[in-house]
Subunit: 116 residues, 2 copies
């Protein structure tokens, strides 16, 4: 049986890993969706910014439904566990510049979510 | 302008958040995929275990391609940043019991990935 104790550190693949919800439900769907709230062009911009600015330490992955569908567009940044709700291109650019490049959370875009 | 300093802690939505790759490429595709490597029944088992065992502090989200497609099926657990490659139902059950319930990493299933 393997040693179950985490007695050494696993090197981290990314400094940060971003997951962005790409769920698209049709117009009028009662749950709504990040896609219906305009997520896709925002995530496209985000992915391109990460790539074009050479932020190789920042992972970017498309996610399925993250829950909280009315609160979208939603993305979450780990390991910090920070949830953001950007709605404009400028919001995306600020997250990239402030959080990903300078390490400073963008408080005005943070969503504080709680399990009910 | 908002205060850019993270001078207070944001409460965490989940103790852990699991992202599992659901990418399915057709048989013979040169990149391969987690789906082609048998991911889906494993993730189905994982999602059901989290729900049925009442692990409400463990988030579970379907992810798009996480990269490292030949190394799948791949899942990653945050905030720890631990990547696992389970291949059997028993592997899934061990991750749930050991990592999610007891907080002990399952070293034999860890994938140490590096950006080249």
């Amino acid at each position: 049986m393997q040693d179950m104790d985490a007695d050494y550190e696993i090197p981290q693949l990314y400094k940060r890993h971003v997951f962005a919800c790409y769920t698209q439900r049709p117009p009028g769907h009662p749950r709504g969706s990040c896609g219906a709230l305009g997520a896709q062009p925002l995530w496209d911009r985000l992915g391109k910014a990460i790539e074009s600015q050479g932020l190789t330490d920042t992972g970017f992955t498309a996610a399925g439904c993250l829950g909280f569908c009315k609160a979208g567009p939603l993305m979450v940044v780990y390991p910090e566990g920070i949830w953001y709700r950007p709605t404009t291109s400028e919001d995306i650019d600020e997250i990239v510049e402030s959080h990903f490049k300078q390490g400073k959370r963008v408080d005005r875009l943070v969503m504080v979510l709680t399990r009910s």
